[in-house]
Symmetry: C2
Subunit: 340 residues, 2 copies
Amino acid sequence: MTTADSLFSDSVPIAVDAMGGDHGPVETVAGAVQAARGGARVLLAGNPDLVEAELDRHDVRGLDVRVVPSRGVVGEQERPVRAFAAKPDASILVATRLVKEGEARAVVSMGSTGASIAAATMLLGTFNGIERGALGGPIIGCAPRTVVIDLGTSVDARPRQLADFAALGTVMARVILEVENPRVAVLSVGAEEGKGNRLVKETTAILKASGLNFVGNLEASDLPLGGAEVVVCDGFVGNVMIKLTEALGAALARDVRERLGRQGEELAERIYDLTNRIEAYGGGPLLGVRGAVIVGHGRSRAASIAKAIHTARMMVERRFVEKAEAEVARLRAAIGTESA
Amino acid sequence: MTTADSLFSDSVPIAVDAMGGDHGPVETVAGAVQAARGGARVLLAGNPDLVEAELDRHDVRGLDVRVVPSRGVVGEQERPVRAFAAKPDASILVATRLVKEGEARAVVSMGSTGASIAAATMLLGTFNGIERGALGGPIIGCAPRTVVIDLGTSVDARPRQLADFAALGTVMARVILEVENPRVAVLSVGAEEGKGNRLVKETTAILKASGLNFVGNLEASDLPLGGAEVVVCDGFVGNVMIKLTEALGAALARDVRERLGRQGEELAERIYDLTNRIEAYGGGPLLGVRGAVIVGHGRSRAASIAKAIHTARMMVERRFVEKAEAEVARLRAAIGTESA
């Protein structure tokens, strides 16, 4: 047990969707074992035969890793609600139900993002006035303490939703990234007030009255420079940004490899790592739901999955969900309405 | 005169806003001289004393470079229309007027983008049914034949505007980038039809009836892979993408320099160049206006400005504006309406 890990009390385990992701259950089980070696207690929701077979490949003596049987997996291309009806004991549902029933204190999944969000929304519920969870986090390694939110759960977001993102991002920056007084900016096409689209202008008016540390517009050109700790945007724009960042980094890393060969390997890896943060960190919290949920990157391998479990433990230990719900309630009071 | 340049007939010169950009008139004049050595005829609109002084620093014997006096410059932060009223002979107005009056066949400016667009819209006019010019072009060196449009002139764009962008981008890909049958895609958050925001869905319905080579949605992750030759998006999103790409490339290039020192210089330059295309090419055409207009990057230096002048000559020689206007008219007929 490392010093950092000894901070966790771990009275209740973390549930992991062992079947989710591009490399489940091989990498999810390996990641869970790694996390357990760091002191985590893990419940693996999955096909018992497959998961036990993977566990057999590791030395798990003395580790608290148990299997909870599930049947079926929700694929990336499936519509979650329809899939849930057909597979009521799918791994993501079993894992999320463990949290609902108090058997686990957080759920971690590398599987379908849509399914993770739908399961959390349905089984755990959202904060008062919030329709659906938001995804946010640092997307560029050069700005490791800048939370970009929303990364794709709400396209066609309304100004009040962006205000919610600002509150949720503020709590994430404060609690997870340990920034004392996070600066909140709205992503726009110019730094001056008044530059932007309708959404930016209407959001600006709300954020000014929000009691948050609102600093105005931020251009995408200032994003890698860490111009603010919370940058809010519509989920369409955030999703485009994270996918562009990831793909651009991957393309540049490929280019470095092609030109420098093995000599360029370390540099290529660094470029990839700086631009593929969610993959590196395994995933980020789903914000706005009544439970600790980590939505991971499908491509994640064992080390990243172990990091995601670590983040989940940290979220619980620091009472992230409670603080976020309180902050959203405070925001609602400040901007003078109870609902979106 | 190079072989490529000898393709141009150059009966009428190109107008250059000599005062615009971060480095005008030093670099604009140097760029014009370079272009003239390649066979271009150039009219430099600017403060005669300053421009003549710069010209004196070059050997211009036998070159067709002349000065057309202007008074004042429109700055990046000024509101164009107000600035035009105060400075009726500002360099961008003088340069654009030369095109209107048939003294020049194209205008090139590295100055305020807003002022270039406003001057072109006001003096040259836009195509039937188009309210304002659009900016588009390749933004990532890994996908050199992919035109992303719009890059920022129209935030809050409507579906019909995106259809116009598709037609304009198609002509740009065909005429400037020499792609025979450009694939047109709409930028979205998922590759499957039905994924996206309202704008994407409504644009999809129009593009299906457009007669263009429409291939559906394209995710930002496929952008560096050249998944289509024309990618349409709202100007807010396009502006975010180009600024993020430029800044990310600059940050990664900086990182390479810091880690590898002089050894990394060539690689750092390559990364910067792959991600800062508009700066490398000096600028791109303003699409949808009745005249050949190149809107440049403020940071451009002489070599890029010479390239921008070269692009302007190519636009004229290949009858770009006429072809674009015809394509937009054809689109309007296909989608069954005359106006936006």
